[in-house]
């Protein structure tokens, strides 16, 4: 008895929901229902088209007005219709579909559609004519490159996809659309090259995105944080780039690209640690120069993370390791400094971080002034006032320079932050502290993974084939294999035996 009742109410509720979801048959009811669902917003547009009995509903700001007039209103204004099918034949809009669900109607109106409503019909037409909100293609400013294309992604998903298709004219390029966020309803596209990219990884990404329970994401960088393997670590495990050529290079290596509508940064995954220190320019210049640049960046990484810490360790505990001639200069410059090295180093690191943050938030011209103020005024004054030593200023400037060499902004931030715990360790335990920090980082990095593939690949697990394109870059005739890290379905870029005579 009890169960029957419950079942009955459930059925009733379902029926009611279905009724509510249907398109109302009279114009007034439709208008009222539409407005109710969109909270009676001021930007709702409702126009009756002449005597045809057709009413158009839309959100005025989201549609292209010219198209509305030219392609929808003009063809139908002077005629009268009795069925929705006939209207469809008269319209010259590319993207058009039929529906009888109110939910679908509201959803696609929010996406830039016009509802074409004919009184007495159970179906409505949805013509997709979105306004082009956004900007034209522009230069890649954050990841600028001397050799190579200059174009960057924009905030439009469609334009970004078009850019990728322009580089890779392959029928195997697959684009899968998903929607994220119960409120933002962002379109997210997983792009991969079928036959190269591992379907298992596509599955992992799809599952992680589908399983997200979140109200809104506003940018791809937020999505990247949500779908990372380990969100507790400081290291980014997915890379963001604004360069379409870089994304295409990744796609050709068997990686996946994740594009979020409204975001000019595209996620590339999986990523390994060394890849954050590579740019596409390394492939565009000669391999000797590319290798040199990569080695330079990795040495800058070590310089940036450990140099200040080594200074602190040497001057706090290990005076013995500094040769006598160097020690004289060091102690002379430190003679007037009243602080222990750790406080001195912290002070100056703090100033550098302040300068960087101030520079990042200011317009370019003011930013330059900041540089002068910071570099000359604070630097010189701090030494003259006896706050810090000259040598520490050199060291800290070098370390800061080293962190800006990193091509990836997200990784550059990590490197800057890592310095602080290492300085503390060096201040307490000297070289042992630095080594302790190093061992911790090593274990930490060994434990990370990106979409299930090891973060320190190709070094560990050792895949000697892939070392050819990691810290160094060997010529293209040698790097004929795709990296093992992406577990590509097609391992070879080309048949190297056939290509031997030609490349």
């Amino acid at each position: 008895m009890f169960f029957k009742k419950k079942k009955f109410t459930k059925e009733k509720a379902e029926k009611q929901a279905k009724n509510e979801n249907l398109i109302p048959t009279s114009r007034e009811l439709m208008s009222a229902e539409f407005k109710k669902r969109l909270q009676h917003s001021a930007d709702i547009l409702e126009n009756e088209v002449g005597n045809s009995g057709i009413t158009l509903f839309s959100i005025g700001n989201l549609i292209d007005k010219t198209m509305l007039h030219r392609d929808i209103i003009e063809p139908i204004i002077s005629q009268s219709f009795d069925s929705i099918q006939v209207i469809m034949e008269h319209l010259s809009v590319g993207e058009i579909r039929k529906t009888d669900h109110m939910d679908t109607v509201v959803q696609s109106v929010l996406d830039g559609s016009v509802v074409i409503y004919l009184e007495g019909n159970l179906f409505v037409l949805l013509a997709h004519i979105p306004a082009r909100l956004g900007r034209a293609l522009s230069f890649a400013l954050n990841e600028s490159q001397v050799v190579g294309p200059q174009v960057a992604f924009t905030e439009s998903l469609m334009i970004n996809l078009g850019l990728i298709r322009n580089y890779i004219k392959d029928s195997n390029l697959s684009v899968e659309n998903l929607v994220v966020g119960s409120r933002s309803n962002k379109s997210v596209a997983i792009v991969s090259l079928n036959g190269i990219a591992s379907q298992q990884m596509v599955g992992i990404v799809r599952k992680r995105i589908q399983n997200l329970k979140i109200d809104a994401i506003l940018d791809s960088s937020q999505l990247a944080q949500l779908i990372e393997d380990n969100s507790l670590t400081i290291f980014p495990q997915l890379a963001l780039t604004e360069r379409p050529d870089r994304i295409c290079d990744w796609l050709l290596k068997g990686k996946l690209a994740i594009i979020v509508d409204g975001s000019s940064l595209v996620i590339g995954s999986p990523q390994s640690f060394v890849e954050f220190f590579q740019t596409l320019e390394d492939s565009n210049v000669n391999w000797q120069i590319g290798s040199f640049l990569r080695l330079l960046r990795v040495s800058a990484l070590f310089l940036s993370v450990f140099f200040t810490a080594i200074y602190v360790a040497c001057l706090t505990f290990h005076y013995e390791v500094i040769p006598q001639t160097l020690l004289i200069t060091l102690t002379e410059s430190r003679a007037r400094v009243p602080f222990p090295p750790i406080i001195e180093a912290f002070l100056l690191e703090f100033v550098i971080e302040l300068l960087r943050e101030a520079g990042a938030r200011l317009p370019t011209k003011v930013g330059q002034t900041m540089g002068i103020v910071g570099g000359i005024v604070i630097g010189t004054a701090a030494v003259q006032a006896g706050f810090t030593s000259n040598i520490l200023i050199i060291i800290i400037a070098l370390a800061a320079l080293g962190s800006f060499v990193t091509p990836s902004y997200t990784m550059g931030n990590v490197i800057r932050i890592l310095r602080f715990p290492l300085i503390i360790l060096a201040g307490f335990w000297g070289f042992y502290g630095i080594m302790y920090g190093f061992c911790f980082l090593l274990i930490h990095l060994l434990r990370q993974s990106s979409l299930g593939s090891p973060f320190l690949a190709p070094f560990y697990p050792p895949r000697f084939e892939d070392w050819k394109d990691s810290l160094i870059r060997l010529p293209f005739s040698v790097t004929y294999k795709r990296p093992d890290q992406t577990r590509p379905e097609d391992e070879y870029k080309y048949d190297y035996k056939k290509a031997k005579d030609h490349n």
Binding site: F317, Y432, F440, L446
Partner: protein, 370 residues
């Protein structure tokens, strides 16, 4: 418990990693100090002792691999149970677990002693002990692949130290090696016996074997790994003999570290400070693998969850590590440990091999009779 042991696919290791595991395990704390001990027995022929110990270790590893191959995919914990039966097997497993923990503690103690003697005389033992143990816990919880990763990087990142050998070589005197074979054979054998503490580490194969992917390549990479270590030991032994005068070498506790004192670069002197602290990365794989072997033993023998076992073992190591602080005590500890290690690592594999062989013969004849 199951005697055969097949780890899950994602935990398997490429067999060539065994090279790095062996090298990382053998090079640890012994290498800093073995020259004096061998030299005090075998004088200028100490290098012959090192060579003999090396050859002997190859034989032992060969026997170990044979034992493992007879028993299919199993480790020492499974083999001991098949060979001795449930109860004796379990007791012997406990012995092996205890041995691993003891090795862990010996390495930890010796490293802390070096740190305190050379760099931080006033920093208390417990601070080093706690810090290193925390690092070990973090590494251990990453699983076997992370541990082997530490082995790998420990090898790769410490290759640069070999380049430093050139500096003491400039001050060497080759005549110190002559006359060859002056020492009688007994002293040389005694020196070989004293190599135990330095050369052990390859017994980890007994535990790591099921995790290796291609079992047919184990012989190759195991011997390569041991050969690499033996060449390194031989180099260091020869270098110490020709660099130090005999009287000096007998009084130098850590000849390998003292060797580096001569190095003088334009921007850095006293490079042994860097090397001693860098040694943390070299002992880390030792500590991690011994702890892993011990906990693997508990898991295999008693089927216990490893979280609590880890905690108990860490306490079991931490508390004794606070005692035995003087050089004499540590030396005595090393001495007793090397006796235990000699029997477990160098003698026991032959017994185990013979017993498993007999057992196999017996079972096959029994099957035939049936």
């Amino acid at each position: 418990m199951k005697v055969q042991y097949q780890p899950k696919q994602q935990y398997l290791l490429n067999t060539f990693l065994l090279f790095f595991i062996f090298h990382a395990m053998q090079v640890g704390i012994g290498i800093q100090a073995f020259e004096r001990i061998i030299f005090s027995e075998a004088k200028q022929d100490a290098w012959i002792s090192v060579v003999l110990a090396g050859i002997f270790s190859h034989v032992v590893v060969y026997i170990m691999i044979k034992t493992l191959q007879i028993n299919g995919t199993s480790d020492i914990y499974g083999i001991q149970i098949t060979v001795y039966g449930k109860w004796i097997g379990k007791i012997l497993n406990c012995f092996f677990i205890f041995y691993c923990l003891l090795a862990f503690m010996i390495i930890l103690k010796n490293y802390i002693e070096v740190l305190q003697t050379w760099i931080f005389p006033t920093v208390p033992t417990w601070l080093f002990s706690v810090s290193i143990l925390l690092l070990v816990i973090y590494g251990f919880t990453g699983g076997i692949r992370v541990i082997v990763g530490v082995c790998f990087f420990s090898f790769i990142l410490s290759i640069w130290m070999l380049g430093l050998i050139g500096y003491p070589l400039r001050y060497s005197e080759l005549n110190h090696l002559l006359p060859i074979m002056e020492t009688n054979i007994v002293s040389i054998i005694k020196g070989t016996h004293k190599m135990t503490l330095t050369i052990i580490g390859f017994e980890i194969l007994y535990v790591v074997y099921p995790f290796l992917k291609e079992k047919d390549k184990v012989q190759k990479f195991a011997h390569l790994g041991i050969a690499a270590t033996n060449i390194l030991y031989l180099l260091l032994m020869l270098l110490s003999i020709i660099y130090f005068s005999p009287g000096q070498l007998e009084k130098t506790i850590w000849p390998s570290l003292t060797l580096f004192k001569i190095i003088k670069l334009p921007f850095i002197e006293r490079i042994e400070y860097v090397i001693i602290t860098f040694w943390l990365l070299i002992i880390l794989p030792n500590l991690l693998l011994y702890l892993w072997a011990a906990i693997q033993g508990v898991k295999r023998t008693f089927g216990k969850k490893s979280k609590w076992v880890l905690l108990i073992f860490i306490l079991f190591i931490f508390i004794p590590s606070l005692f035995f602080n003087s050089r004499i005590n540590i030396n005595r500890l090393n001495h007793y440990f090397s006796i235990i290690a000699f029997y477990i690592v160098f003698c026991y594999p032959f017994i185990l091999y013979a017993l498993s062989l007999i057992r196999k013969k017996l079972t096959s004849t029994m099957e035939k009779m049936q």
